[in-house]
């Protein structure tokens, strides 16, 4: 803390003549005297009474709702959260579990030359639908389609190396059906038609 020289106090109080103030203190005395004079001066303009100032505030039109909302939004507010540590730990565990679960649901990581083939067929009466083709050595039963919402539309999403494949659906283990939604068809040389799927690399 700064300590003001006693002689400055005396000079400001008029107890010490100005010419008696040492030269090194005169500048400080002058600045403090000017500041005191400024504080003592009346405020500029006509002095409003307390009553008139209160009435002016009352008469001012209330701000609109939007303005009040905006003001509330931009005004800092204090929020006090009282949390038990046990709940914090539980919350963190839930967040971690959800994160892991979501990450696990993102599907397989696709290789540079791999793509996605989606097989969709409408078989309302079917009990099972599989897709077989050159991607699985025409081995029935290895890729099953699913109808999770039981609307008769069966689906499977398969990761395959990029390329061209022939395939058919096998319904209920015995009925061979081409993919009617796929417009690429080719004779299978056994009296029927195979569908063609072109798998393009997902990373292009």
């Amino acid at each position: 803390m700064n300590v003001i020289d006693q002689r400055i106090h005396q000079a400001l109080d008029g107890e010490l003549a100005a010419e008696a103030v040492p030269a090194e203190l005169r500048h400080a005395v002058a600045r403090l005297a000017a500041a005191a004079a400024l504080l003592a001066a009346p405020p500029p303009g006509p002095a409003a009474s307390l009553e008139s100032r209160v009435m002016a505030e009352i008469r001012r039109p209330a701000p609109s709702r939007a303005r009040r909302v905006m003001r509330w939004l931009v005004t800092p507010h204090s929020i006090i959260l009282r949390v038990r540590p046990a709940w914090s730990v539980a919350f963190a565990a839930v967040v971690a579990t959800l994160t892991l679960f979501t990450a696990g649901d993102q599907g397989p990581e696709l290789g540079e030359h791999e793509g996605i083939a989606q097989f969709v067929g409408r078989f309302p009466e079917a009990q099972s639908v599989h897709v077989v083709g050159t991607f699985n050595d025409w081995r029935p039963g290895s890729i099953a389609l699913e109808d999770q919402d039981h609307d008769g539309v069966w689906r499977a999403t398969v990761v395959l190396p990029a390329g061209t494949y022939e395939y058919m659906f096998v319904v209920d283990g015995e009925r061979w059906v081409p993919d009617h939604l796929e417009e690429r068809l080719v004779a299978d040389d056994f009296g029927r038609e195979n569908s063609i799927v072109i798998v393009r690399p997902a990373r292009r």
């Binding site: 649901d105 993102q106 599907g107 397989p108 696709l110 793509g115 996605i116 989606q118 077989v132 050159t134 991607f135 699985n136 050595d137 025409w138 081995r139 029935p140 290895s142 890729i143 499977a156 999403t157 398969v158 990761v159 395959l160 190396p161 990029a162 390329g163 061209t164 494949y165 022939e166 061979w176 417009e183 690429r184 080719v186 004779a187 299978d188 040389d189 056994f190 029927r192 195979n194 063609i196 072109i198 798998v199 393009r200 690399p201 997902a202 292009r204």
Partner: protein, 223 residues
Amino acid sequence: MKRWVGLALSACLALPLPAQSVRGRLEGRIPSTAIPAVDSLIQFAAQEGLPTEPLIQKALEGGAKHVAGPRIVAAVQLSLGQLRDARDLLVRAGDQPPVLPAEMTTVAWALRRGLPAPLVERVVAALARPPRGAAMHAVADLVAHGFDPDSAANLIIDAVHDGVPRERLLDVSTAALQQVQRGRTRPEALAIVRRQLPNLPAPARPTRGNVAGARRPAAPVPP
């Protein structure tokens, strides 16, 4: 250079294949009486430098569909003939022998999808550098939807010459098909897409939802 490395690798993979592993793949999958004939056809293909996998797949397909042995042999023989035709077409169009197996398979696909051989030959000659698979399928897609074969081939060849990457040629045919769906005539659709070249709408990419439920088959076979 890449071509010769590819051929050498293909030969290394193909030569020991017919003897042991082909029979292993066929046994229990096709009638046993058909195995010797199918096996010998596959041996012929390997000796001629033709791809053997399409023949194996044809035999396995017949077995899975419970087709009788003689019909399986006939279908494999037909596939062998298609591959020979494809090889000959490629050589006629300017490819230097030995022809790449993947190109033979591609041309065989195109012929099986109904493209006339002269048209396939023209596309091959216009696209001197493999791979030509996407170009062939793009032309075949357009022809299958009623486009004039020559006009369809011209569009795809123009797209390549305008700098459209090979892997995006299916987007060219898709763009033309979309124009038809919007009510354009086929000539109009081709003209619109040709004016847009080499710019194309972005292809649909697998969404996170698509990939989420995806799975790999137990043992996928390379195409």
